[in-house]
């Protein structure tokens, strides 16, 4: 199948290879949580809620009392994919993605400022259309910032793939299931450091570098957007406070 139309240069959904889907971010969507966010990348829609820092519930999990314990739970809603299927909790995939998100966010959270406490991040996929783990990380960043948890930097994530000999930014589900390589990158945007890099296909080194470069560009664009959302929210809160 042609994922990039050779005559028009457009992808199946009308984007160019280096274009992202439409982004949408909103904070404060869960009333009871300390911080929460809804994040959309095209049809991929993810909700994240952060609770904490709060008293550690299970002291057994605590590794270092001088640092906050970060926990993460990822879950696909049953209605998130085309076929409505009961998704067992804690399957391999969710466990893996939970871990990925936790580690990525831990790299940014200043855990030493919140000793003897824990931070819970819950992310749930409401609609899945490719790039869910990227969307989850972006949503989690928004929610953490909303919760007023100190962070080193804004973490954003974006995926890129390589199909029809073209590096493609932000794969949607059709492109994702094409079986080509799928590189998910997470970066600390200001510090320009990579906190997440996943790929489960073979790709020649030089091609890989191009694809990764593209993904990083995507991450930076997302970061710009996320900052906009946060700054706008901060200003609004401050102004209303009076």
């Amino acid at each position: 199948m042609e994922y990039v139309n050779p005559l028009t240069g457009f992808r199946v959904d009308g984007r160019r290879p280096n274009e992202m889907r439409q982004l949408k971010g909103e904070v404060g969507v869960v009333a009871r949580a300390d911080g929460s966010a809804l994040f959309e990348m095209g049809n991929t829609r993810v909700i994240a809620a952060v609770y904490g820092p709060r008293e550690i519930q299970n002291r057994g999990q605590q590794v270092n009392s001088n640092e906050a314990l970060v926990r993460c739970e990822y879950r696909m809603a049953e209605f998130s994919t085309g076929d409505r299927r009961r998704k067992p909790k804690g399957d391999r995939r969710s466990t893996e993605i939970s871990l990925v998100i936790r580690q990525t966010m831990e790299a940014s959270i200043l855990t030493h400022l919140m000793p003897r406490s824990q931070i819970d991040i819950f992310v749930q996929v409401l609609q899945a259309d490719g790039g869910t783990r990227s969307a989850c990380i972006n949503a989690a960043t928004l929610a953490l910032a909303d919760a007023g948890i100190p962070m080193r930097d804004i973490v954003t994530s974006c995926s890129a793939g390589y199909l029809c000999s073209t590096p493609l930014l932000d794969l949607n589900y059709i492109e994702d299931s094409a079986g080509g390589p799928d590189v998910t990158v997470g970066i600390l945007t200001k510090m320009d450091k990579v906190t997440l890099l996943q790929m489960d296909a073979k790709l020649p080194m030089d091609t890989f570098e191009n694809v990764m470069e593209l993904a990083i560009e995507g991450c930076k664009a997302i970061a710009t957007y996320i900052r906009e959302v946060l700054l706008e929210n901060t200003k609004r809160l401050e102004c209303q406070r009076g």
């Binding site: 709060r54 007023g148 948890i149 809160l237 401050e238």
Partner: protein
Amino acid sequence: MKGLHLSLNQTQRVRLDTALQELQSLAPAAASAAAVTVADTIPVNQEDNILKGHGTVDQDGEVVATLCGVVERVNKLVYVRTLQARYKPEVGDIIVGRVIEIAPKRWRLEINFSQDAVLMLSSMNLPDGIQRRRTAVDELNMRGIFVENDVICAEVRGFQHDGSLHLQARSEKYGKLERGQLLTVPPYLVKRKKQHFHHLMQYNVDLILGCNGFIWVGEHVVVGEKTKTTGDQQKSSTEAENFTPLETRKHICRLANAVRVLSALGFTLTVELIIETAEASASSNVEINDMLGAEFYVQTAEREAKRRADLLRKKNGAR
């Protein structure tokens, strides 16, 4: 805006938007200019030898924010004042909390902090009001004082060496709160003031604005009476005696709803504003339950916009 997910009709939405827009325009320009998000560089004059406070970190010689909030500068200190965040205790803060656990010689309280706060048995006045060493009997009677889920008012005593937060309740005015409603709002909406206890005479209601964002609205209690009523022998009779009048209960609900509306709109909670809002609802014959309806939100926002505009005009006129 937390909790503000109302079903507005078209005109209400427009009105709310204009009101909020106006609020935004009324705010001092400095406030929005000083707003930062995570990883924003805070401009500082490097020669000033500045002190980096909360919410900042040094990154390659730059001062970078680690939180979303407003940059505040006090002399050489530069810090980020957060808005949406958990409570950050300061010694002497008056807080309202809820007992969640009874441990040896102490109660643990949830006060919207990153840990549970500790109220030692030794840090509070006993019912008999006598200063003395706590005995084992006192320890056994702890449940006679506070049990789980009791709402308590106390004062921040300070951090212990192990990093835990301790409270004290050494005054008559502290202690268990009954016959009222506990409301939780984001802590940034409560400003630290001299007075956090308010006796609203006209309603016979106590209003406690806890610094941690827990707000108590309850029937007025005469200080000193409280201790008597807890006596066992009077238990059966007090129930009837202390029956809260319907009128007072209505007042409590009205005030509580005013707090809900104001906090949902993100307005700083002051006694004046709460009373004004409650009055307004009463005077415009809004039913207590209708206060949480869309229309009242919009009205409150409009009223606040008008109030602030007047304030600004007065200020400018005075100048």
